[in-house]
Symmetry: C2
Subunit: 193 residues, 2 copies
């Protein structure tokens, strides 16, 4: 009846939904492990191997993919990014709850390959709210904001493919909702339909 | 994305597991409705129709069953007990979360007839703990306690057929676990597999 193995949580959110802040809070809780992605891109100044990313050569990355060693991966602008399977499995076996912070495409790959993964989508209260938040930041041009909003709409359209949707209106509520999902999933009977 | 309809929770527990106390706490929360059972047995002194039970004649009860008007029912010592479907549906439609406090057999009937029902089993930390609790009460004879424990073992064997198992070791934790399940189920995407 007891689940000694950790749970695998996949978290996606459009840019500007406060995902980082929510995950920061959750990762303060005991028993969580944040999965570090692998990438073929060169480290930027200050980035530490194994902390920001696992920096792999193209050959190393491709060899991992070929050996089914990536839970999901994608290539942007010639650089590949992926989630190393081995580390995730080891942490789950050690009873840790693993958090993968990945995009919608990656989440769908993980859903396919790990049916036990629990997919959480963090959504803004509305697209208008998201636009306002991005405008208030004042760090992006109108064009970039329009692009972010359009991307968000595409991502929100994928939310029904997730298991849970957390609407981040009030941060404390969103964090409490995340914790409720974690607890409920721990109490869930895995054999039940 | 929003579930305006209430959720249907089915709660079972062996005798002595603190189910009544947990449900008392949960029913203080907003938006819950405790389903009142129907029965053919005569009201006892002080029992109020519609509060303790809906008291029905044998003809009324059988007519409801024939019209598919009971979500589950059973007969003990010649008296029938059941959950009237209409009232439950009305409360769910009104957005209330409905709690059915029923036994394992009833829960399995509801699972079959209402695939959307969420089944919670409240378990003791161990059968030994349950035996100790019953002995400490001092209200039952050794024979009755032995019978209760044997019944509990049979019920616990059915727990894997429930969706969630709450172990009632510390009351506050059990109530908090119940609330976490309710919240998570509210955040769940119903269309997702």
């Amino acid at each position: 009846m007891k689940n000694d193995r950790g749970l695998l949580f996949v978290v996606s959110a459009p840019s500007g939904c406060g995902k980082g802040t929510i995950l920061y809070e959750i990762l303060q809780d005991k028993g969580f492990y944040y999965s570090v992605s692998a990438t073929t891109r060169a480290p930027r100044e200050g980035e530490v191997d194994g902390v920001n990313y696992h920096f792999l050569s193209r050959e190393q990355f491709d060899a991992r993919v070929a050996a089914d060693g990536m839970l999901e991966y994608a290539t942007y602008c010639g650089n590949s990014y992926g989630t190393p399977r081995k580390e995730v499995e080891e942490m789950l076996d050690a009873g840790k709850n693993v958090i993968l912070e990945i995009d919608v495409q990656g989440a769908m790959q993980v859903k396919e390959r790990c049916p036990e993964a629990i997919l959480l989508f963090i959504a803004p209260p509305s697209v208008d709210t998201l636009r306002h938040r991005l405008e208030k930041r004042g760090t992006e041009t109108a064009e970039v904001i329009a692009q972010r909003v359009a991307e968000a709409e595409g991502e929100i359209a994928c939310a029904p493919n997730y298991h849970y949707i957390i609407v981040n209106d009030v941060l404390e509520v969103a964090v409490s909702d995340f914790r409720a999902i974690v607890r409920a999933e721990q109490l869930k009977v895995r054999s039940a339909k």
